[in-house]
Symmetry: D2
Subunit: 389 residues, 4 copies
C-alpha cells in the first residue's frame, strides 16, 4: 500500500526521482479563488535550491510549471499539479554506489523492499532529497492558504553540529531565509559557515536542529485522538529525509521536570485568555491553544560523504569501501529548514480546512484580498529583515 | 474531519469518554485465522490498569468484551469490536474544573474547538488517558499478529524526572512489565519509586522517557515518502496523551555529530548483511533494515496535580486557582510505556500488512500455530524475567 | 485491507455479526452541538425492524445504547458509538447451511475469502442484513445533521416483483414509512401485500425497486472527479446487501434517447435558475444542481428461501440440496428502503461537511434549534401522512 | 475535501483541465518489477482518442510521457506519473458558453460550487471528458498488473440509442476494440454507424449502454461491508462523465423476479464448484465467486449538441439559447467503453492488492514474465479478432 500522499483535506501527492525526467506534486483540496502565480512557488523553491553557497553543488534552476488547477491567476478548486524538470544530472557517478551501498543511506533498504533489479540507484532515486521539491512547491500554496487566517511560518537552524544559537524571536527566524546557512543572526552565521567549510574540506558533514515558529495560529486546530496537531506535525516532519527526532514546546526537557513546573499558568492579557510562558509550544491536548507553535527537529549529518566508509559489495558479498563522489550538502539540515517549514504549512492548511476555518470549496474576493495582502507583507518582511541585518 | 482512526491496513478506531458508559475500539483489517481470546487482551490491559501501585487510584478491572469478529477462538476477518465498561467514576469531582480549566490540560482547547456547552468535562472526557484502553486492546491483537514474523516489542521507563537508567537490553525491557514503575532493573526501580512517593506526598508529578525496543523486525517495512516507518511511529507516539517528543536511533544526538560518526558501518555477520552499531535504530530512509527498532518518547509530567495552580475562571473571567482532586498518576509516563508499546504494535501490524508480509485476508493453520507458539513464549518470558529479578 | 468504514468527513464504521453478541457502529465526524437522543435512533431503527408484518419473523426490539459522543442530549464532537445487542438468535438452524452453501448467498464467497475454518456461518454472519442495523443508526444521526440545510429524505418501494407503482410525489414516499410493505399508496399496498403472502406460502421471495427522493438539496455537493455525488451514492447503495443496480434521474432510459431529449431546459422560476423537468435527478457533472435528487436501486429477491435448491455439499463434494429454514423476509427490498434512505443520508452528511455547508467542529445554538425544529416537523409529517391515508 | 483520487492500494490521482497545459495522472501503489513501456499506455489511449471516425473531431495524438516510477523498462515501486500535453485546443469557441450555460452539462454546478470568477469554462475545464485520459493511462497499468492473475477485461457497446445488440461472448467484446463504434459484430456496427451519421447531421447525439466482461477473475475479491466489489465498481463507473446507471448480473431485471428464479444453482463442472448460469455476474455478497464479472452502465447522450437549446444568460438573467459549436462526440458512450474498461481494471488491481493476490511491494521475475506473456497474448488477440471479423 502506497505512501506518497499526505493530508486529508489538503492532499499532497509527490512523484519523481532524482535522476528521472522530473519531480513534481499534485495538490488536491485547494479551495477555488486563491491568487496563485508561478512566482509564488519559485519564491519558496529558491530557498531549498541546491547550488546556493554552502549547499549541494547541483545547480538546477528548479523552474516550476503549473500544469492544472489555476486559471487567470486564481485556483479553480481542481487539483494543482506542478512539474519541475530535472536538468542537471550526472548519473554515471552512481555506478559505484550500485554495488557498494552507502552505510547511512536508503540504498540497502530500497533493495530489500523493491528488489535489486528494480532499484533506481541513480542519485538516490526516490529516496533523494530531490523529492522534497514537490513538498516545497505544495508548501508554497499552503503558506498562502493559511494567510487566510494571518498565519505565518518561520524556521531557522537552531544548531549546526556542536554550535547552538540562543533561541531567537520570530523575526530572526524569518530573516534567516536569506542567510545561506539559515542562521538567525550574523554571529551564528559565521560560526555555522566555518563548520560548513571545514566539513567540505574534510569530505565530511554535520547534523543540525531546525526550529519552526508559527505566528497567529487559530485556536482549535487538531483532531482527537489520532490526528492531534502534534501527531500530524510529528509525522510530517519525520517523513523528511534525514530527520531523527521531533519535539515541541519544552520537548524532551519536560520529561525531567515536575508538573508544577511544566504546567503553564493561564492568565489574562489584553483581555484575552493566554498561557504565561507558552511552555506547551502552542499545543495542549493535541489542539492548538492560540499561542505560537514552536517545535524542533533533529537532522542527522548528510549521509553521502566523500570520506571512505566500510560497506559490503552486494555483488561479491565481500567487504568494500565507498566514497560518495556526487555533489552533496555538507549539512542537509540547512535546506531541511525550508522543507520543515513547507511540511508545517501543509499540516496547518490541512487542519484549517478540517476544522472549518476555511471553506473547502471556495473563498470570497475579500478573503482572496486578505491572503494576497498578507503574502505581500510576508515577502516584504523577509526582504526587509535581510537588509536590516 | 474526524481523527479517531489510525492505520490503513490494520485500522483502529477508538471511542468513549472517561466518564461515559464505556470506552472501546473497533479494529478493521485483522486477517482471518488469528487465535484470539479475551485473556490475550486482558493480559495487555493489565499493564495499563489504573489502581496498580504508584499509579492512578482508579480501580477499574477493565474487563474487555469481544463483541464481534471472533468465532470459536479465531478471528473471522470481520472487524473486531472490544468494549470496556466504565464502572468506577466519580464525576462530581470535576465540577470545579468545569469553570477553572487546568493550565496544562486539554480543557480550554476542547472548549475552543467544540464549544463550552458541548464539552464533556467529566474526567477529561475524550482527552482523558482512559481513551487509551482501546489502543491497548487493539495493541494486544497487533502484538499477536506481528508474532507471525516473530516480532516482539518491549518498552520500559528509561528515565523518570531527573533519574536516568543506563540503556538496558531487550530482556530487561521485557521484564519491566512486572515492575510497578516500569523500571528495567531493581536499582532503577527503587530510585523511581522514591520519586513517585515524593511526588504523591507533594501533590506534584514527574515526567519521564519511555524507550521501546523491537526485536526480529522484518526488512523493508515503511512506505516512502510520507508513510515512512519513522513517520508513522512518530505520529502514533505523538498521538498519545502527554507526549512531547520522539526520537529514534541516535535521535537528537545525531544533530551535533559528523556524518563519519553517524554513518553506521555495513558489515557481514554470520553470513548476513548487518549494521555494526545500529546507530540508525533499525530504520534507514524510513524503511526497516532488519536491525532492532529503538526509539524514545518524552512524556511530560501528569498535568492534573493537587498543588494549586493559577488559572482563569471561565464564567467570571477573573483570576482563579485550581487544585485537581481526582485520582491521578504521579507520572503518566509509567502507564505510557504500555500505550507506547501498543501503538508501536499497531504501526508494525499495519506496515506488515501493507508490505505484504502477512496475507490481509487469512492466514493458514501453520501460521496460526506459529503465532500462538510465539505468543505463549512471550507470556512465559515476561513471567520468567520477573521471577529472576 | 479492510472495508468496514464509509465516508471521509462523516465516517461510519460498522461491526458485528448476525449471531454474535451485538451489532453496532461508530460514527466519527459528527460536529458538536447536534441534539441527539436514543429515541431519534429508535425511530429510524423501527422501520428496518424484523418482526414487522410481512418481513422476517425475527422479533428483536433493536434497542440502541449510545456509548459515547453524547453528553446532556447533545453531541460533543467525539465519535458516537451505538450498540445493539443480538437477543433473538437460533443458531442451530444454520448447521445445514454450514455444509450446504446457499446458491444465491455469500456463503461460498466468504469461505473462499476467509477460509472454511474461520467462517461464522451462523445466520449469514457478517454478510447478514443484520449488519445494516449499524447503518440505520448512523443514518438517523445523518438525517438529523442534514436537516441543518432543511434536507429531507424519503424512500418507498417503487416496484415489487412484477407490480410497479406510478411514480409518486415526495409526500407519498414519506408516508410509505408506515406502510408494512413501503407502498406509496393504498392500491399499491394491496397489490404488494398479495405478492408477499403468495411468496410466503410458496416458500419463495420477490425482488423490488426502491426509489429515494431528496428534498431541499443544497447546490454544489459532490467532489470531482471521483467523489461525484452520483458515484458516492452508487457506492453507498451498491454496498447494501442484495442490491443489483443503481440509476438516477432518467437512468438507463437515457441511454436510448437523444441529447435534445435528455438535455433539460434551464429556466427561471420564481426568480431562481431551475431545470424544467429535473431529468437529471438533481445531479449534473456529478454535482447537485439544487433540484430534488431522485434515484432508484434494484434489489434481488431474498436469496434465503424455503424452496429446496441445488447446491454442492462442501464436505463430500457431492450434489446436494438446501432448504433455508431460518426466518427470512419474503422481499428484502421492503426493509431495504430504510437502509437505502440511511445510506443516502450518510452520503449527504458526508458531502455537506466536505463542501463546507456545515462546520465540521461545532454548530451554534441557533443551528441546533433549526435541526431540532426540522426533525420534529419530519416526525409529524411522517405521522400525519399515515393518518391521512 | 478533495475527490481526485481513487483506490486504496492502487491509488490513482488525476489532474488537468480540457484546455490547460496538460492532463495527467499519478499512480501510487504499483508494485516494483512490472514491465512497462510508453507503448503499453499508448495502446490503451489509442482507443479513447478523439479524432477517430465517428467521435469528437479533436485530433490530439495523446502522447504520454512517463515522468517517474519506471526505470529500465520496469516499475520501481515509486509512484508512476504520466503526462499528456493538450495540443489541439480552440478556447475561443467557449466564450458563448461562459454566459449561456449548457442545459445538460456541469457548467452551472461548477459555478455554484467554485464560484463564477474561478470557473475554467474553456472546453468544460475539469468536467471535460478529457480528464479521462489520466484514467485510461492508469487503466493500462492496471490491465497489465491484473494479468498477474490472468485476468482480462473486455467491453463493448451493448446498445446505441434505440439499437440493441444480442449479448455477445468475451471474444466479440475484445474484438470491438477495433470497431470505430465499439460494436461487437458487423451487423451491429452498421446499425450504430447509421445512427451516428444521422446524429451528426442533425447536430444531435445518442446515449448508449456499455457492457464489460471480465475473464479469469480470482475468487474472494471485495472487502465487506462497504468496499464490496460491486460497490467499488459502481462508484468507479458512476464517476465517469455521462453515466446514469449501473447494474451487474441480472441487474434491474432481478427486481421483478422470484428468488427461486434468480438463485443460481451451484454445480460441479470439471471438478470445480461453479454457478450454473452466472446470474449473479460473478459477484455474490459483494465478493467475486470466480465466475466472469459482467456489468452494464448507461451513458446519457453527449450533452454538448449543435441544436439550439433553451438556457438562462448568467449575466443578464434573461432567457437565452445555446448552440455548442466545439467538436463533440455524437455518442460519448463509444469512447466511454474504454474508460469503463479502465476503471474496471483500476478497481480489480486495487482489490487484488487489497486481498493479497499480488505482493504490494514487488513481484518476482517469473511473475513479471507471466504478466508480459499474458499482455502480449492480449495484444495479439485484440488484433487477430479484428482481422477475423
Amino acid at each position: 500500500m502506497p505512501g506518497s500522499s499526505f493530508g486529508k483535506a489538503f492532499k499532497v501527492t509527490t512523484f519523481g526521482e532524482s535522476h528521472g525526467p522530473a519531480v513534481g506534486v499534485v495538490i488536491d483540496g485547494v479551495p477555488a479563488g486563491i491568487p496563485l502565480s508561478k512566482e509564488d512557488i519559485e519564491f519558496e523553491l529558491s530557498f531549498r535550491r541546491p547550488g546556493r553557497l554552502f549547499v549541494s553543488g547541483r545547480r538546477e534552476k528548479d523552474e516550476p510549471e503549473i500544469l492544472s488547477g489555476v486559471f487567470n491567476g486564481r485556483t479553480t478548486g481542481s487539483p494543482v499539479a506542478i512539474l519541475v524538470r530535472n536538468t542537471d544530472v550526472i548519473s554515471s557517478l552512481y555506478e559505484e554506489i550500485r554495488v557498494n551501498p552507502r552505510p547511512g543511506h536508503a540504498d540497502l533498504p530500497f533493495i530489500f523492499k523493491y528488489g535489486y533489479e528494480n532499484w533506481d540507484y541513480r542519485g538516490g532515486g526516490r529516496s533523494s532529497a530531490r523529492e522534497t521539491v514537490g513538498r516545497v512547491a505544495a508548501g508554497a500554496i499552503a503558506k498562502k492558504l493559511i494567510m487566510h487566517q494571518g498565519t505565518v511560518i518561520a524556521g531557522y537552524l537552531k544548531s549546526l553540529g556542536p554550535v547552538f544559537s540562543e533561541t531567537k524571536d520570530f523575526r530572526s527566524a524569518l530573516c534567516s531565509k536569506y542567510s545561506p546557512v539559515r542562521a538567525p543572526d550574523k554571529e551564528t552565521e559565521e560560526a555555522y559557515e566555518k563548520l560548513v567549510k571545514e566539513a567540505t574540506v574534510e569530505g565530511d558533514s554535520y547534523g543540525g536542529i531546525a526550529e519552526v515558529i508559527v505566528e497567529n495560529v487559530p485556536k482549535g486546530l487538531g483532531e482527537p485522538v489520532f490526528d492531534k496537531i502534534k501527531a500530524d506535525l510529528a509525522k510530517a516532519i519525520m517523513s523528511i529525509p534525514a530527520t531523527m527526532g521531533f519535539e515541541y514546546g519544552l520537548g524532551f526537557r519536560a520529561s525531567s521536570m515536575k508538573g508544577s513546573e511544566t504546567n503553564d499558568e493561564i492568565i489574562k492579557s489584553d483581555g484575552k485568555v493566554r498561557w504565561a510562558k507558552n511552555l506547551a509550544g502552542g499545543i495542549l491536548g493535541g489542539i492548538t491553544n492560540g499561542e505560537r507553535i514552536v517545535f524542533r527537529c533533529a537532522f542527522k549529518p548528510t549521509s553521502s560523504i566523500r570520506k571512505p566508509q566500510n560497506t559490503i559489495n552486494v555483488k561479491t558479498g565481500e567487504k568494500s569501501t565507498v566514497s560518495v563522489k556526487g555533489r552533496h550538502d555538507p549539512a542537509v539540515a540547512i535546506r531541511g529548514v525550508t522543507v520543515a517549514e513547507s511540511m508545517t504549512a501543509i499540516v496547518l492548511a490541512d487542519h484549517m480546512l478540517r476544522n472549518g476555518n476555511i471553506n473547502p470549496a471556495k473563498i470570497s474576493q475579500e478573503e482572496a484580498d486578505t491572503i494576497q495582502k498578507n503574502w505581500e507583507r510576508y515577502l516584504r518582511e523577509c526582504t526587509r529583515m535581510q537588509e536590516s541585518q
